[in-house]
Symmetry: none
Subunit: 210 residues, 4 copies
DNA sequence: CATGAATGAGCTTTCATTCAT
DNA sequence: AATGAATGAAAGCTCATTCAT
């Protein structure tokens, strides 16, 4: 009985895992459902018991990955009060997840944009939620008088996430590594903190470069 | 002779223009060669006189767009000496081009990533050259003692371009506009300059927010 | 024991009822076994405990419907001696059944032909038996000197049944009703009787139009 | 040039001819597009240059066959004035076409009913037109005082066509032949004429059995 | 008996590319 | 150089049937 249920969940997971590998390797459009089935060790038809169609697999994969990412990040930020620290933690955690889950990262990086435009009726809410965490941190920093009030949180959020994202792309696409994840995360945080804090004292503090 | 060549160039351009529209609207994989042919007002087969295959159209489009972008940017930067100004100009010019050439921007935004991974044997050299311009500005700023020497130009380049790119994505994908291109460009430049300049005096200067 | 058997019969009936509805609505090839199962309120697999395959469901449905039709008709004809009356009764009863059991009629009308050709190894004996009743009436009429001897009963049977069948098709496929079942049955009977009776006196008799 | 055009028409015809054979042999739903392509000696994809989809092939086949049938019939009826003769000619011509074009007949017989119900948005107008010719003959006979006025032409039309159609089915489905097409056509006509004419004199005339 | 998750063969349709004209 | 009809491989998805529970 228990085995049955486990087996069922199992298939869903196995298909998602297979899709992760295939999508990451070939990209969505070049991936064949039958190859996902092969990796997942199920019949082609079985996939359609768990997913409506190929699009749905990709969407489910997004949801799954983002769900995990949000949880990881919330754990990492838990208990931290200082918005500056939070921004650093966000950068480090984000890049760490990219590094430790390269396949998921490749898909997010490459397919999430396609999907934003071409997957009909799909609004990647989990992703929006994820990005919202940055906006919140910036707004919080402004409320506490730490970040300059004239900065628009939405712009800062885009700039900050874009910076991390472009860095991720390098990790994902390139095989060379001229510097560590930590270095990248720290330098990016420093630049943004120094650029956003409100006065010189704060700037000095933020500017204690490693 | 001249007419022939002109005619050829003409078709080449028309195909590229058609591809621009189609790719922007549907995305590379959803686009049909025959639709490009239709927009270009040539026969399907004609396309294969000018391009090896569908991939080649996309690649040529990249080259074409990047060639234009680099020229625009070089013109904009010409005569400017101050790396800080250069960075501002880069941001403003980049976002301006995005805004004024939305279709090209959509393709760059969405397809360039696909291509980086999946177009076999294609290294987007023009794009790398474009990005190199940022690296050069940062390095120049460090050489002149304006930007902190501990910043790795490659990291700064990625952070800066990523910030602009993410902003572009918002322009491309969203229809709402909560702020102008100029505001975005200026805020991003300010954050980066304040974050990268070497001392407090410089920081103060950079921090003259609008 | 009895309960078991009753339960089995019960499911058999429910499946047949479900199939009746589904086949009538969608046609055999467009019908899904799983939808029959749904209507019958049994599991997909259960169907295969009562029927060999999808074809077998259709065949069983034929047998069932024809069994019922033959019984109804025999009851209606019971006690009647005059072949002319019998023909009238046949027409009226046939069309009445069509009218009162539209779903069964649709299947008979539309699918019986498919099946005659494409269901391998199936000879619709009950249907042949049903048609034989017309042949018998005609032959009986000839034996009694009422119908013209030169008429081939097989031809008359086809003509008569065809006439009724085409009328049924109208009832089944059309939603408009320009005249009643009774009118149609009577007019058809009259034409055939007037066409088949042996002399003018008979013809006159048959020709007492309503 | 001429060859080109001929070749194009040629393909359309060849596909239709192939479809005729395949549909007649297997029935619409059991027929594979690839087999039609094989018989037509074209590539699978070529079929979709001439037809929207598999349904469209069937519909086009209907139109084509009915177009031919109507023309044949009009030729056969041309110059004939007597509605009684017209009815005979209709019967004979109809059954002759069935006999000489068995494959087309099989499809008409078996698939036309399916189509009436299940091919979305398709109203077989040519077929309706064909049937309308019978209605016209009956109405004409009534106008001329030859056929009983109380007969509803629509009922007579259905009865008459149904009789012929059922006879055709016998020809199409059975391999045995107990009587000739001519015999069948003549007997059916006689029954209907005797059944429909207005008085005994007429009835006598109509009743000159062979 | 009953279930329903799993199977996988098989189908229609698309579309990049070719090549005879 | 230009055409566009023809190609045919390839893939997503369905659904009748099976079988472990």
């Amino acid at each position: 009985m228990k085995k049955d249920k486990a087996a069922k969940s199992d298939k869903y997971r196995k298909i998602l895992d297979g899709a992760l590998k295939v999508f990451a390797k070939k990209g969505f459009y070049q991936s064949k459902v039958s190859e996902i089935a092969r990796l997942a060790d199920v019949a082609d038809g079985t996939i359609y018991l768990y997913f409506r169609n190929k699009d749905d697999i990709l969407i489910s994969l997004f949801e799954d990955v983002m769900h995990y990412a949000i949880r990881r990040l919330e754990e990492a930020l838990a208990g931290e009060e200082d918005p500056r620290r939070k921004l650093e933690i966000f950068a480090l955690t984000h890049l760490s997840m990219i590094e430790s889950n390269r396949e998921a990262a490749e898909i997010l990086q490459v397919e999430v944009r396609q999907s934003s435009k071409f997957l009909k009726d799909y609004h990647n809410e989990k992703f929006i939620q994820y990005l919202g965490m940055i906006t919140d941190i910036v707004a919080e920093g402004q409320a506490k008088g730490i970040f300059r009030p004239e900065i628009k949180p939405e712009i800062a959020r885009r700039a900050f996430f874009g910076a991390l994202d472009e860095m991720s792309l390098y990790w994902v696409l390139s095989s060379r590594r001229d510097y560590s994840i930590e270095t990248a995360a720290r330098q990016i945080s420093k630049i943004f903190l120094a650029g956003m804090v409100v006065n010189n004292e704060e700037a000095k503090e933020a500017a204690k470069w490693n």
